[in-house]
Amino acid sequence: MKEFLSGNEAIAKAAYDAGVQFAAGYPGTPSTEILENIAKRYIDVYAEWSPNEKVALEAASGASMAGARALASMKHVGLNLAADPLMTLSYTGVNGGLVIVTADDPGIHSSQNEQDNRHYARFAKIPLLEPSDSQEAYDLTKLAFEISERFDTPVILRTTTRISHSKSLVSIKKTAKRAVKKTAIPNNIEKFVMIPSYARERHRIIETRLKRLQNFSDKFPYNRHENKKGKIGIITSGIAYQYVKEVCRDIPVLKLSMTYPLPVNLIKRFAKGFKKVYVVEELDPFLENEIKALGINVIGKEKLPSFGELNPDIIEGALIGKRKRIRKNKLMLPVRTPIMCAGCPYLGIFYTLKKLGLFVAGDIGCYTLAALSPYNAIDSTLCMGAGICQAFGMEKVLKEEERKKLVAVIGDSTFLHSGITGLMDIVYNKGITTVIILDNSTTAMTGRQDHPSSGFTLKGEETKEVNIAEICRVIGVERVRHINPFNLSEIENIILEEINQKMPSVIISKSPCVLLKHKSRVHRQPSLTVDLSACNGCMACLKIGCPALERVEKDNLSLVTINTMLCNGCRLCVDLCRIGAISS
């Protein structure tokens, strides 16, 4: 019987079937469901949300060093943080199989960039596998552990949003019962201690390993030549393979699943058979450049875009030589942008920041939505943890008066992920930057995952809560203030006090996400209503940006009502109404 699985579900299942004993990661679209599935369905696997991706990979490498099969999963930008351990893990190699899943996001559905993480495999000189559907996500994940152990190397499994979040049928062979490896304390310092003398020797081993891997890639059955007859041949990988087949199922194709190191001899033999060879790949010319370096003339990015997602229409246009015109929607329709929730504890903070006209160095989380209308209150967003550092860097070069006009804003999960070191920089180097920590007790944007100060583990067990205020104090922040995010005058007064201090300060707004899984912690109040006979249509309440507030027309007047299905009675709008028309 086949199962209908998403790419992420297939990876989780394959990891389990391959005997994985340790799985770690940090939530990030589109990778999040891999660890969620392992934790939910395969309870005998140790699985954790780590504070960040670097920690996840380092912990997974420890499990591997002790002999267990281990998995680290993250979104593409997460691997930037984990690149430090990755580059040297290539040198040490593994003991138990070590697989790193990087889920890339071409098209930037939910990310800050669309970097092509295949480059990391070449950079670190380790094998790279690219599934093109859930079946291959399952098969290649299992094989990744075998390749890792056979060649003593970490392996990267690279998916994209369309692989991770698409579902397709997976047939799973009934194999022997899941077997886990024996673990023990390792004793091999030449392999695991990377001091110069040992590292030089390991680098020599890497180069030999790459040659062996290239031979393996040449014979790897998932690198395959389909359909022999034709004048044009196509070399492709990942989701692009499916689009090519959709457009022309009989065209000769060299379908690559192991894309680093490349099957050089297979590619040479394939290219000889055709007048023209196209390389069809999403994002960067990764395969194309490698193949051109072999002296093979191929057509790639001169016909296909290096940005955004591919799709069957783009590929059809490139192969036929005529760009098909995609039909646009001619209706002028209102946009439906993602917004913060009704009663979100961030609303009052961003209302105040905008009112005060401050420069807000933002970060990655739900609060990034405050950059858009109707909030318009975030001025920079770079990567996890960058906001605090950017505000500090600005402070150091701005004139004294201007220094008081900026704050950094960061969420609880992001602060624990990579905000602490930035705060340390401010204290150590005598800064005065004000940092606002929006603590909603969860990693909200990716779907409410737990983290070190949420009080629960990935498996839902209660655990110690890291105390964010104490961390700030112990670093040396003397001014740590708490605010009630539903009291607008308190928010404004405290922010004004803190930005005028000549020392670092942290303002913590602690109030749970309204969507929190542990619902007992969310305090809902009775929903509010507007007295339409009193409302004068001044629209002051709309400035809070709450989706429960709706405009209505009554007797040719434009007034406001409250959608009681959405309202959770936070009363921010009550504070804004000058005539007292809103009440519970």
């Binding site: 069957p312 439906r336 917004i339 929730c341 709309l542």
Partner: protein, 210 residues
């Protein structure tokens, strides 16, 4: 319905986060799987929890490659909300069938626009801050084969206004070659045990609706 032995059939589900779009496309996919078709499904839901649009594509046939549908090849559009249905019209095949839930969910963009404010407009052609009140007529203009379903009303009579997705699936089932027991088996496995009865009830009401 077209001859599915030779041609892959393409379904587009469109709605707003929280409407049960993804559950509906999951149930259709499983039903196609049980009926021995190859099937693929692709969702875009990165920020759907935050009130954004949700799109789910399902394709089934003898052998399916791409999980996403080519331009102008959507055979069935299941619209959970009028505006989101309008947003997808450019992706449809000429003779596409459209099943639309008669529900309007106003996006915040139309509230935060400065006065003069109008919640609804006639044409919907000129102003991005106006919700096209005559949405169904606009749909009908381009596509004859469009049905307006009183989804919320039917879901409420099934005992749960959250079962609109099953009402729409029930309506869709009239055009698909799957037996009733296949559908109901999949529904039973896909929804929480305590809600099976009202979901199946909603499905049946949708199927019989006109």
């Amino acid at each position: 319905m077209k001859n599915t032995d030779f041609k892959t059939v393409n379904f587009l589900f469109a709605g707003v986060g929280g409407q049960g779009v993804l559950l509906a496309s999951d149930i259709l996919s499983e039903a196609a799987h049980i009926a021995n078709y190859d099937v693929k499904k692709s969702d875009i839901h990165g920020m759907s929890q935050r009130g954004g649009s949700v799109i789910s594509q399902v394709r089934f046939g003898k052998k399916v490659y791409s999980p996403i549908i080519k331009d102008r090849e959507v055979d069935f559009l299941i619209g959970f909300e009028i505006l989101e249905t309008l947003r997808c019209l450019n992706m449809l095949a000429k003779d596409a069938k459209i099943i639309v839930n008669n529900q309007k969910i106003y996006p915040i963009s139309i509230y935060s626009s400065l006065p003069p404010f109008s919640k609804g407009g006639e044409g919907g052609f000129s102003d991005r801050n106006i919700y096209p009140e005559n949405g169904f007529e606009l749909i009908k203009k381009g596509f004859k084969d469009a049905e307006l379903i009183q989804g919320i009303m039917l879901a409420e009579s099934a005992g749960d206004n959250k079962t609109v997705n099953l009402v729409l699936l029930g309506r869709l089932s009239n055009y698909l070659p799957f037996e009733q027991n296949v559908w109901e088996g999949v529904i039973k496995r896909s929804v929480p045990p305590s809600t099976v009865e009202r979901n199946i009830h909603a499905f049946r009401l949708g199927k019989r609706s006109k």
